[in-house]
Symmetry: C2
Subunit: 214 residues, 2 copies
Amino acid sequence: MNQRKISESTVRRLSLYLRLLRESGPSGTRVLSSRELAERTGSTSAQVRKDLSFFGSFGKRGRGYDVDELERTLAGILGLQQRWRVALIGVGKIGSALLGYGDLARRGFDIVAAFDIDAAKVGRHASGVNVWPLDELENVVRSHNVTIGIIATPPEAAEKTARRLADTGVAAILNFAPVKLSTPETVTVRTMDVALELEGLSFALTSERGNGAS
Amino acid sequence: MNQRKISESTVRRLSLYLRLLRESGPSGTRVLSSRELAERTGSTSAQVRKDLSFFGSFGKRGRGYDVDELERTLAGILGLQQRWRVALIGVGKIGSALLGYGDLARRGFDIVAAFDIDAAKVGRHASGVNVWPLDELENVVRSHNVTIGIIATPPEAAEKTARRLADTGVAAILNFAPVKLSTPETVTVRTMDVALELEGLSFALTSERGNGAS
DNA sequence: GGCTGTGAAGACCTTCACAGCC
DNA sequence: GGCTGTGAAGGTCTTCACAGCC
């Protein structure tokens, strides 16, 4: 496991390859070439081979990659042979959507506890997950062995929540609040921001006019 | 507006700069240096200056950037001086969350119509947006002059929905379904996938063990 | 013949470092 | 003195192209 620095884009693509392999599951093809993998994930064949080559040689020359084997290998690389225990902070609109989103559990991420500052939201959520008062965060996160936190609080509360999660020993945070979190380097943070993505689209549409849009 | 190829990361950072400028609004500082902009968005001062230099010279040497002026300039570059008319397809968990998410309107994106295949969801949504039967998509998208579509359907329906949006003349799609969309090149697509981000975190946590994690 | 694995080349992005201006 | 704007250097990521194997 002595691996060099793997880029974020490579990891993203590995996830896409894995998703494809899982979909072409039992009834799918037994072997896929780098070209097929590329076409169906929006990459190139050389890119696929390069991505995989950082971790070893998993293909068979002249044939391609064995679907089952590559699936297991990729799951291993991505750390998805284990299940991850996740805490959700903030049971508002986004939080509730996440609680009801079965794809997360299907892909190895169990939301084992949720928190909200609003007493009315405390109790058992429709999804079956328990919603705790925010005060209980440290206790419950520790007792449930949570390693990943999801921040779905209002932006004003995000920074403080991040600090509390970090102090409680959570190793990674997925942040839905449109703010920059200042966490210790030991915590890996990734932010998802719908408005930011829309702004990216806005830019693309705006600058198209400049060039001769076909 | 004869601009060269601007990278996606540059555009993302421009959005972050703009967000910061807007937050440090009326009561904020009148001038910000590239160093300040960088520190508060998680970038570097050279990066900030380079990003801006693709579009012109907006700073004052020895002083920095005028907040109001740079805010206007960035909004112009990103195409945010106009408002964007957005259609949402799929009023499930994610779709509802988006309808209730005021930040989108605040940042220039108005969801002017929503669609769902389920007759029970048709009618006026709590957010005030009208939910139409899916059959009406082409009519309503055209009559409302929609330019951006958000796909929040189940994965199986995403591809077909994308094609319909593309055929109806929508210029950009924000896709929440975990599938690769095959749309004509005239349509800009961006996909947001929570599980994919979590898998990125999973990888980071897993590969840390390999190195000597401090 | 077909396809992988991979050095080398090329494209792209970031950082450096400093001239130029306030 | 302080800060911008920017060529040049350095680094990273992608694509090419082909040797090696099935």
